[in-house]
């Protein structure tokens, strides 16, 4: 009886076998070949996968840097790395993880999954999507090229002035850091804009706002946060770049500037940044819990409101990074309250998930194991977060290894564990093959144990007086043993990472084949083949419940009438997803890549010679002219959709 309960429900959308629609769709959505063709891809699956793979490569680099840090700190007065190289390495570690891994990987998951989950064919601005990816990868290459050429930034991932200013950081190192920020935050903004418009305007008919999957809510909320937070860091980094290359005085205390202003502007971005990394992971957890408890998440409205509340409150916390800077205690205490208050929506989410687990039928699979790991680690990290929200305690813990432990618990527990679960969960959808459950379970336990072994002792190290960002420490302070334990843990994490990569590679080559819905999950991406065709669905689905596939029967309507001879999708209304008009989508184009190169010329050139930004702008203008040059298919106006025979707004034309 047990196995019958667990057998996944086979709900597939109708697949035509040699119909004309299929052939036309295949033709319209095919991708060009060759290198130029590969550079011209604009479909969201391709770009989403690129984001994810590239981000994981940067995760690898960041992990190697972490190992180097741990090796240096394993013993007191260790001579493995000198101070200059160590400073570059820990800066690169933080910068890589925060800017080149954590945000892009979540963007990538969103770009891949959101159009599938809401039942459309692509994001609304496909070429812009491609352009955003190129900016990201070029920014990352730029930074690493600098690192390999001894121009790696060395002032910390948050680059405080005056240390990072012109007087105390010679050369181009911090300039490279500042300009990399411009690249990656531009890219983040592009992805955010894509996701907001996708979610608002391109959902399947019937998927009103209260029927959107929680993962999509997570990406939507995160995208709004990106829109408000990224400009702050771009401004900060541009001010810094101008101070360093043009002789402005934004942060020069002697001429009316203020080093503290850097901290305010940076952390106004920096705190929302961690929620930008965290909120999509919350969406991932909801998806996984739903699939493996066979139950809708308890308290959907509370969950959505919690996501929104987290986003809003997240913008009001930034001063908690500055409690030691001598701000008035009363003002600081407002930020204590806000920093404690943000635990409430997170708590609501945890309680709702636990209720779902309690009330549902749990099937333990690797993704769900990672969710358990997430609860364990993230709750611990969140609790230490509430501790450091308190000003007096923070004055002991700030800038020590206690804080290092705290943020690794919340970031790795809160984002990386769900991400690893997500990879195991959605790998069948992306590649058509299942990942190995055995290797996955081993990965989980090795990473879980290694993680706790590495970071738990750091709480004690911080309280025993070990500050952050020190390349070594004295032997008589008694920190050696705990540091050695942490280093051993880091090696174990590395082993776990290696097992994970091995699992990915082996499964990609020879994993068990997966059908459209191996987990029996409820969201729309499981309603098409694995991997999905470039056009996602043969016919766009309609939705009549929160769990799209579970509340669907085989004779529920699908959308027909959207053109199949060229790339097109359906645009629907914001609140109720009533069909509105057919929306043409751009096809493959090399212009995003060319424009990215032009913009790169301006950005990188201006690091060395300020006036080159104008030449870059000129080149970008030329590239944009090429980009927007009218093509025949764009001359037609989007057509309003004809209502079908019935009055219902959920159907375009009912398929018989």
């Amino acid at each position: 009886m047990q196995s019958a309960l667990l057998e996944p429900k086979r709900v597939q959308l109708p697949e035509a076998s040699a119909s004309e629609d299929l052939a036309e769709l295949e033709r319209a959505w095919s991708n060009p070949r060759g290198i130029i063709g590969w550079l011209s891809h604009v479909d969201h699956q391709s770009i989403g996968k690129r984001y994810i793979v590239t981000a994981f490569i940067f995760l690898l680099f960041g992990g190697v840097e972490a190992l180097l840090i741990r090796l240096q700190l394993a013993r007191p007065e260790n001579k493995f790395l000198g101070p200059d190289l160590y400073n570059q390495i820990f800066t690169m570690h933080g910068t890589t993880m925060m800017f080149l891994f954590a945000v892009p990987v979540m963007e990538g998951m969103g770009i891949y999954l959101v159009p599938l989950m809401i039942g459309t064919r692509n994001v609304p601005f496909p070429r812009l999507n491609s352009f955003g990816y190129y900016l990201f990868v070029i920014g990352g290459i730029f930074l690493y090229a600098g690192f390999l050429l001894n121009i790696g930034p060395d002032a910390g991932w948050f680059s405080y002035v005056p240390l990072a200013g012109p007087a105390f950081s010679p050369g181009k190192r911090v300039d490279f850091w500042a300009q990399m920020i411009t690249f990656t935050e531009f890219s983040g903004l592009i992805a955010a804009v894509e996701l907001i418009v996708t979610v608002f305007k391109m959902r399947a008919p019937g998927m009103s706002l209260d029927r959107i999957p929680l993962f999509v809510w997570g990406m939507l909320v995160q995208s709004f946060m990106v829109v408000f937070a990224m400009p702050a860091v771009m401004i900060a980094s541009t001010f810094l770049l101008m101070d360093r290359t043009l002789g402005t005085h934004f942060f020069n205390p002697a001429e009316g500037g203020d080093p503290l202003m850097w901290q305010h502007i940076f952390w106004f971005f920096g705190h929302p940044e961690v929620y930008i990394i965290f909120i999509p992971a919350l969406g991932i957890v909801s998806s996984i819990v739903t699939a493996f408890t066979r139950k809708s998440i308890f308290g959907y409205t509370a969950m959505v409101l919690s996501l929104v509340a987290t986003a809003f409150i997240g913008f009001g916390l930034w001063v908690h990074h500055m409690f030691a800077t001598g701000l008035p205690p009363l003002g600081a205490s407002f930020f204590t309250s806000a920093s404690m208050m943000i635990a409430i929506p997170s708590g609501v989410q945890i309680f709702c998930w636990l209720a779902t687990l309690r009330n549902g039928t749990v099937r333990i699979t690797v993704p769900l194991l990672f969710v358990f790991g997430f609860v364990f680690i993230f709750v611990l990290g969140g609790l230490t977060g509430v501790m450091v929200a308190s000003v007096p305690f923070d004055l002991q813990a700030h800038d020590t290894f206690f804080v290092v432990a705290h943020f690794h618990y919340v970031l790795i527990g809160g984002s990386v564990f769900p991400l690893l679960g997500a990879i195991h969960y959605w790998f069948p959808k992306m590649t058509g093959r299942m990942m190995s459950e055995t290797l996955g379970k081993i990965t989980f336990w090795v990473v879980f144990i290694g993680f706790n072994l590495t970071f738990f002792p750091m709480h004690l190290l911080g309280l025993k007086g070990m500050p952050r960002r020190v390349y070594t420490y004295q032997p008589n302070l008694g920190w050696g043993a705990l540091n050695l334990v942490a280093t051993v843990g880091a090696v174990i994490i590395a082993i776990g990472g290696a097992i994970f990569i091995a699992n990915v590679i082996i499964s990609y080559k020879s994993g068990e084949m997966a059908n459209g819905n191996p987990w029996g999950a409820s969201t729309l991406e499981w309603g098409t083949t694995s991997p999905p065709p470039h056009y996602n669905f043969l016919y766009l689905p309609t939705v009549n419940g929160r769990e799209a596939l579970w509340s669907r029967s085989d004779d529920d309507p699908v959308v027909t009438g959207v053109r199949t001879d060229r790339r097109e999708s359906l645009s629907t209304s914001i609140l109720d997803a009533r069909p509105d008009h057919r929306y043409p989508l751009a096809g493959p184009s090399i212009w995003p890549f060319i424009t990215a190169l032009a913009v790169t010329f301006g950005f990188i050139g201006s690091v060395f010679k300020g006036s080159l930004i104008f030449y870059g702008a000129g080149l970008s203008l030329v590239a944009l002219i090429g980009w927007f040059w009218p093509r025949p298919s764009h001359n037609e106006q989007p057509e309003r959709v004809e209502k079908g025979a019935t009055e219902s707004n959920d159907q375009v034309v009912a398929r018989s």
Partner: protein
């Protein structure tokens, strides 16, 4: 897979922090081993946070494991949603949220109360000290209305035990952070800002502090000592620090002083009582009375001093003191002279 713990597990859970604390919490730089009223207040606050958060964590993870255990015998998912169960679940979740709010409110109140303790001016007449942060050393100054009584030293702060101390914090270059975990929380030294903190050591002792804001290459080697002494000893120390050294009588020491005054030392260091009065580097007038060299990096003995003078870049790569190439006799005389500057 139940979370029902045996007696021994429960005992371990309670005793482990206590045991860990005994062997783990002590230390010359440990915030969990407070030696003054401010740090004791913070430490008490920490233990409140620690125990409450531990209980919450155990409950949450415990419930997760319990939910996992219980859920396996639930009805299949095709069974209709039970409204009574949903209502019960709503009540439970709401209760948990309310409990969360209450706990956070308690934390907030505790936090504000502790903050008041550590920021407020303690009773008694405070001793005023000014600390200026440099890359990578601490300039310590005891101001006095009578300018002949001003004490200037470096990397070591003497305070009378049992008396409140008010430290004014300034920076000469980048942002540093003054942190003596056993006595008080930290406070940043920001150029063009004047921060300050209150501190008090209840008992005589040696407390170590370290810079806690990344300030460049040798941030890791920017430490200092706070030495609390009985009032009489402190006054004696202070009186001695005010003196400028008399000209040395011993010929070796005289030669050593001559080496100092004719080499590059005078370009950066002050020796009150001589013509050396540069303020770029630590004041060396009473150099031999200090416990450490190079901001807590080396202990103050002849061999370490020789290593520091000849090859400071090998000890603290990137620091501002250049290596010095002195002939051996000059070097030994200089070492003897510096060793005599009590």
């Amino acid at each position: 897979m139940s979370f029902a713990t045996t007696k021994s597990t429960k005992l371990a859970v309670v005793l482990t922090p206590a045991i860990l604390c005994q062997c783990g919490c002590r230390g010359i730089q440990s915030a969990l081993d407070p030696a003054g009223p401010q740090s004791r207040s913070i430490s008490g606050h920490w233990w409140l946070l620690f125990w409450v958060c531990t209980v919450v964590f155990v409950l949450v993870v415990g419930f997760m494991l319990y939910g996992l255990w219980r859920s396996k015998i639930q009805t299949p998912n095709d069974a209709p949603v039970d409204p009574a169960k949903e209502t019960r679940t709503t009540w439970y979740v709401s209760a948990c949220v309310v409990a969360t709010v209450v706990i956070l409110f308690v934390f907030l109140v505790a936090s504000l109360s502790t903050a008041k303790t550590i920021f407020s001016k303690p009773g008694g007449k405070p001793l005023e000290i000014e600390v200026t942060g440099h890359q990578w050393w601490w300039e310590v100054r005891y101001p006095d209305p009578d300018s002949s009584k001003i004490v200037v030293t470096a990397n070591e702060i003497h305070i009378p035990a049992g008396q409140p101390v008010h430290i004014l914090l300034k920076s000469a270059d980048v942002i540093h952070s003054f942190w003596v975990p056993k006595l008080q929380g930290k406070m940043d030294l920001i150029p063009m800002h004047s921060n300050s903190l209150w501190m008090q050591a209840d008992f005589p002792g040696v407390y170590r502090g370290q810079c806690a804001e990344f300030c460049g290459h040798q941030h890791a080697h920017m430490s200092f000592l706070v030495i609390a002494e009985p009032l009489a000893d402190f006054n004696q120390w202070r009186d001695q620090q005010i003196q400028s050294g008399p000209p040395p009588a011993d010929p070796v020491l005289r030669k050593g002083q001559h080496v100092f005054l004719s080499s590059s030392c005078v370009l950066c260091h002050t020796l009150r009582g001589t013509t050396a009065s540069a303020t770029l580097a630590p004041d060396l007038t009473h150099f031999a009375s200090r416990h450490t060299i190079a901001a807590g990096t080396l202990s103050n003995d002849r061999a370490s001093l020789e290593r520091w003078i000849v090859n400071s870049q090998g000890v603290k790569p990137g620091n501002k003191m250049p290596p010095n190439d002195l002939n051996p006799e000059d070097l030994q005389n200089l070492l003897s002279y510096l060793g005599s500057l009590k």
